[in-house]
Amino acid sequence: MSDHEHDVQLQPAQSHLVPLRMLFIVWVVLCALAILNAVLANMNLSGAGVLVAMIIASTMAVIAGLYFMHLRYDSLFNVVVMLLTLIFITLFITFSLTDTANYRSDLIPGEAPAMVQAQQAHAEQATPASKSANSAVGQ
């Protein structure tokens, strides 16, 4: 701390002052969007519902980021950091979804064998009957 020569006049860090009116408008818009999201969800849009909900949520996130978190007035690199993050998240989720949507059907042939066996055992328990022969599949 003693490094800075005392005759040099330091200037405080500059940052943008967001007008109060702007903050207030953003708050109202965000609340309205949240309510809109809830109303739309209750209107039952079936398949498109998730998509619409996500679009509204993303809009809210962008608005909050730009104004509440000053991203609009901030260094461009901070925006780049956020965008790269979103790209990586998209990548992660997309690949995982692509995979699970295409699971090899031969790996999961219908019901898991242990399940079938267990359910049979349960049925036997409910109605005490002769013991099933194939009882060594599980474990």
Binding site: T85, F88, F92, F95, S96, T98, D99, N102, Y103
Partner: protein
Amino acid sequence: MSHATTATISTTEKKPVEHHYLNYPRTISSWLLTLDHKRIGIMYLTLGMLAFFVGGLMAEIIRTQLLVPKGLIFNGSTIQAQYTAFKHYNQVFTLHGIIMVFMVLVPIIPGAIGNFTLPLLLGAKDVAFPRLNLISFWLYVSGVILAIASMIFGAADTGWTFYTPYSITTDTYVVFMVSGIFLLGFSSIFTGLNFIVTIHKLRPPGMSWFRMPLFVWATYATSAIQVAATPVIGVTLLLLILERVMGIGIFNPALGGNPVLFQHFFWFYSHPAVYIMILPAMGIISEIIPVFSRKHIFGYEFIAFSSLAIALIGFFVWGHHLFVNGQSAELDAIFSFLTFLVAVPSGVKIFNWMATMYKGAIVLKTPMLYAISFIVLFTIGGLTGVVLGALATDVVLHDTYFVVGHFHYVMFGGTIIALIGAIHYWWPKMFGRMYSEFWGRIACVILFIGVNVTFYPQLIVGAYGMPRRYASYLPEYQPYMDLSTIGAYIQLVAFLIMAAYLLHSLFRGRKAPANPWGGATLEWTTPSPPSHDNFDTTPVVGDPYDYSNLVYDPALDGYIRVDREGSHDYASTIPMPEQQAGH
């Protein structure tokens, strides 16, 4: 300062101790609570070397076990006894993997070498957040302690990958181990974050992006991966802990969870993590090769951007770990194709290094020997990686010793060799002492032989079908397994020699000049070892790979900067080193 000190030293009596970062202040707490990036780097190095020693011990135990087909250390006459013994073997190789990956390979180059050199290479006084840096170190310590705790109570036997459902059902202390790695992950994130901000905001005037040494570029790419990938392993391990403690069920098939999802989560981090391990190593090689070739680096921009390209592509390839694990065929094909892409920037680097050496005045000092070893070993590792990235061959070779051989060629032949090279390269700057060049070269050659004798037979025996992680094997594999074990002992000899002469140099080594190798990067303009503040004046930034102004001064046994006309430029930023002890 220079003339005054030289005068006092030449009287050879009780010389006043110069203050540098190592000896001032001297108290224990001044080390443990230090905010100086150099001291934190040295602490990382010490602890990392200890971890490396323990992990290496595990490796020697594993190789000794595999000397005979039935197992030399862990075996038993009855089935029960054998089961217990082999479980211990599982614990040993798990510990070897976890210690080496999470405590040595991932943190040690950024933590030790990066922390020490990055601000010096940049010409900065410290990293951007010194306190965060210290927190990062102590998180590393706590992670290591938790892992050791699990070692005492009953170490995990899951392998370093913690695949569910076995990691949920095993009765070993997985939670301790995983919590330790969780902390190590945070340590890694904070280090990466710190370095990114440092590189962005703390460059002195004149240090433009394309004047940064290539190690800084590599560290930048590494840090980006650390920040972007490590949180995912954080949440994965958190879910695994909750899985074991609360039975949350997301990865547990017994509760309807999806174990393949765990593997996606795990490798979304752990594949980029191997680039966390290898990228800084490549940066080190990019520093050493031009210095000892006395020639400007070839294709600076290509090397710089290939680091970023590797970091980026590294995020697109994780699925090649899941080729035989139940991943869909569609994604298998995509990931196999993307995996080949990584070979391109890696190849760019290899060819640029070779082009740098071409027609250079190569000096085969110890660091250069390690750099050349790196190129050879990494190329073998990289090419076997392409074999594994190809879908059809991977189905055959997956989970065989071929994978073990490949991984060790890349990680040992790549990262560890580069790390040792870096320690030798910056040793004079870190501790102000020179080590024995003769023994350094001997150790390097022995190590190079040892690495190949250890890991090449593993590639062969893997192709013959020997599965990895087994505690015993068929008798026909014995020649290869024994050869591999002999290689491991040769490596041990090399490391013992290395430890001996490095420790000797700490106390008895010749005092190092400011610039023993003739490097043009900024850290060589500081005295060896540097003062607490690194640079007394803002350093003058030039081309980091321009050696035309550096001439060897036999009186100093080091290099000094001269101006174009050839007259000595004593007013330059190089302080005269204190020496003459050996002359």
